[in-house]
């Protein structure tokens, strides 16, 4: 049970944006959808939420297609960069409309969050700054009674204080409601700690799909003199390289062979999610990333 994305393909103006995307979202987890600009993240989320159509494939929620399915669509909420709310409508009116259309929207909680973030609900949506538009949409995302929440660049325009507050509220909401969150973002470092599972999408393909812990267990930086490092890394999946003076570093994604003898001059360090992401999606060096 949960959301299944099956064989999604999408072509825009003869350019393939998504090619055969497959993944599953289990209920009650926080997922990360990471990808560079133009990787197809927003397109994928829009297809899942039935805002645009895929050229092939399907999206299922608890085994039922989400296409033209009010029950399924009512169990999802996509907060996107694109503003779909009427510019001339007041925030409080939008809250009330959301309550009318979604059902059990938690107005009290929304107001409480608005107070915490300093959002004036008597303002019109069109008058809000980019940051406050994001805050407003985040509030709806947290207060809406949907089980699956998709956040596309949720911290767009938010200052550091608001970002901190958002992460706290997100985790608090997750603990209380056990909703499923799928967060698409560029600011990977900030969000790593709250993600349980990540999908890395590159050039329209999912190149990594796994639990954060398991993924990071397979991500290493092997550093030392170039010759020693290259000898040690022979046969390993090198996804990137770096030089700092005489020190050479190879980024590895995959299991290390225990039988290899580690020279004294070579060190092995763990890679963080951001470094892994950068190396996997770097166009100049394309290592064969394995899922």
């Amino acid at each position: 049970m949960g959301i299944e994305v099956r064989n999604i393909k999408k072509v825009f103006n003869k350019k393939t944006v998504l090619r055969d995307i497959n993944f599953e979202l289990e209920a009650g987890k926080i997922y990360g959808l990471l990808g560079r600009n133009g990787a197809g993240k927003s397109t994928l989320l829009s297809i899942i939420a039935n805002r645009i159509f895929s050229d092939s494939g399907e999206v299922l929620l608890d085994g039922e297609s989400v296409f033209e399915n009010d029950n399924a669509l009512g169990n999802m909420y996509l907060m996107s960069e694109r503003n779909l709310y009427p510019e001339g409508m007041k925030i409080e009116a939008i809250f009330k409309n959301t309550e009318l259309l979604y059902g059990a929207f938690d107005l009290g909680y929304a107001q409480e969050l608005a107070d915490k973030f300093g959002l004036d609900t008597s303002q019109k949506f069109g008058k809000l700054s980019t940051g406050y538009r994001s805050i407003f949409k985040l509030i709806i995302a947290l207060a809406v009674p949907a089980k699956y929440i998709f956040l596309d660049e949720p911290i767009l325009g938010l200052d550091a204080n608001h970002r901190e507050l958002f992460y706290r509220e997100l985790v608090d909401n997750y603990v209380k409601t056990q909703k499923t969150f799928l967060i698409s973002t560029h600011l990977i470092e900030e969000i790593t700690n709250i993600l349980e599972h990540v999908f890395i999408i590159d050039q329209g393909e999912i190149v990594v799909d796994g639990d954060v812990e398991a993924i990071l267990d397979k991500a290493y930086l092997i550093a030392g003199p170039k010759e020693d490092v290259d000898n040690y890394c022979q046969g390993l999946n090198i996804i990137g390289q770096e030089n700092l003076g005489s020190i050479h570093g190879n980024y590895i994604y995959g299991s290390l062979d225990d039988k290899r003898i580690l020279p004294d001059t070579v060190s092995i360090e763990r890679m963080d999610l951001q470094k892994l992401f950068v190396n996997l999606t770097n166009i100049s060096v394309k290592g064969g990333a394995s899922k």
Binding site: R51, I52, L84, P86, L100, Y102, G103
Partner: protein, 262 residues
């Protein structure tokens, strides 16, 4: 039976259109007061509220305004898809709301013309149907009843057509819409020009004649019968068939709605 979601969406759309209609009616009332006052040189002694309102055909005005409001469906679609509403539910709710308002508008128009002490006309005076078909039956009650039915059906059909046309144009980007309108304008001008020269061209003359016969058939024009005595069967049939086609078309087009990159 409507689902809870369909009721919620219909309620939202109905209220939203009602609000828009309220704004339009406010400006209309303002215009009906302001222009007579202005043309009387802003002289309050010459201004009469009674004469300002006596010639208003509320039903006809609403029959024009409500379809105009139905021409712009995209903003509602954006909000509703953001709120997890399917295209089918959106289409159904929108159709019900506009049809409901359209019927209410016509009933309101008829009631006002019956009750308004200032008005100097009856609803039949403003009805094209009564003018062309209103004397077909010997019973004036039957004629009036059919006239009333036709008003309700035809305004509903016009509203559905507007929904269809509005939905169709919502599929395109702003740029494409502008080019399409220019295209329609040019084609319209060429068509008018073509009609003007049709009498001089033998083949065009035949086409015009055929078109005339088709219009005669569609509108039930009965040669030899005086105005008011034309057969009303065909206008009813035409309206109902057009309504069914437009309903089906608007549904199919709404199914293609998507969030645009603009």
């Amino acid at each position: 039976m409507m689902t809870t979601k369909e009721v919620s969406v219909t309620t939202y759309i109905f209220k939203h259109i009602l609000k828009q209609l309220g704004v339009v009616i406010f400006w209309m009332a303002f215009s009906f007061i302001f222009f007579p006052w202005m043309f009387n040189g802003f002289d309050i002694s010459k201004f009469s509220l009674k004469s300002s309102f006596k010639d208003i055909y509320v039903g006809s005005i609403l029959a024009f305004i409500i379809p105009c409001l139905a021409l712009f469906p995209y903003n509602d679609f954006k909000l509703l898809i953001q709120n997890g509403i399917s295209r089918r539910t959106y289409w159904k709710a929108r159709l019900f709301s506009f049809l409901g308002l359209s019927l209410l508008g016509q009933l309101l128009g008829i009631i006002i013309s019956l009750l308004n002490p200032y008005t100097n006309h009856t609803w039949e005076n403003g009805s094209m149907y009564m003018l062309l078909y209103g004397k077909y039956f010997t019973s004036s009650t039957t004629n009036s009843f059919l006239g009333l039915c036709f008003v309700l059906i035809s305004t509903s059909v016009v509203t559905i057509i507007a929904t269809f046309v509005g939905s169709f144009f919502s599929l395109f980007s702003k740029k494409t819409k502008v080019y399409t309108f220019i295209g329609f304008f040019v084609v319209g001008i060429v068509f008018i020009n073509w009609i003007a020269i049709a009498t001089q061209n033998q083949s065009a003359h035949v086409i015009m004649k055929n078109m005339g016969q088709m219009m005669t058939f569609i509108f039930g024009i009965t040669p030899g019968n005086a105005d008011g005595k034309w057969n009303p069967t065909m206008p009813f049939v035409t309206a109902i068939i057009t309504g069914i086609i437009a309903t089906f078309g608007s549904y199919k087009v709404t199914q293609k709605f998507k969030i645009k990159n603009e």
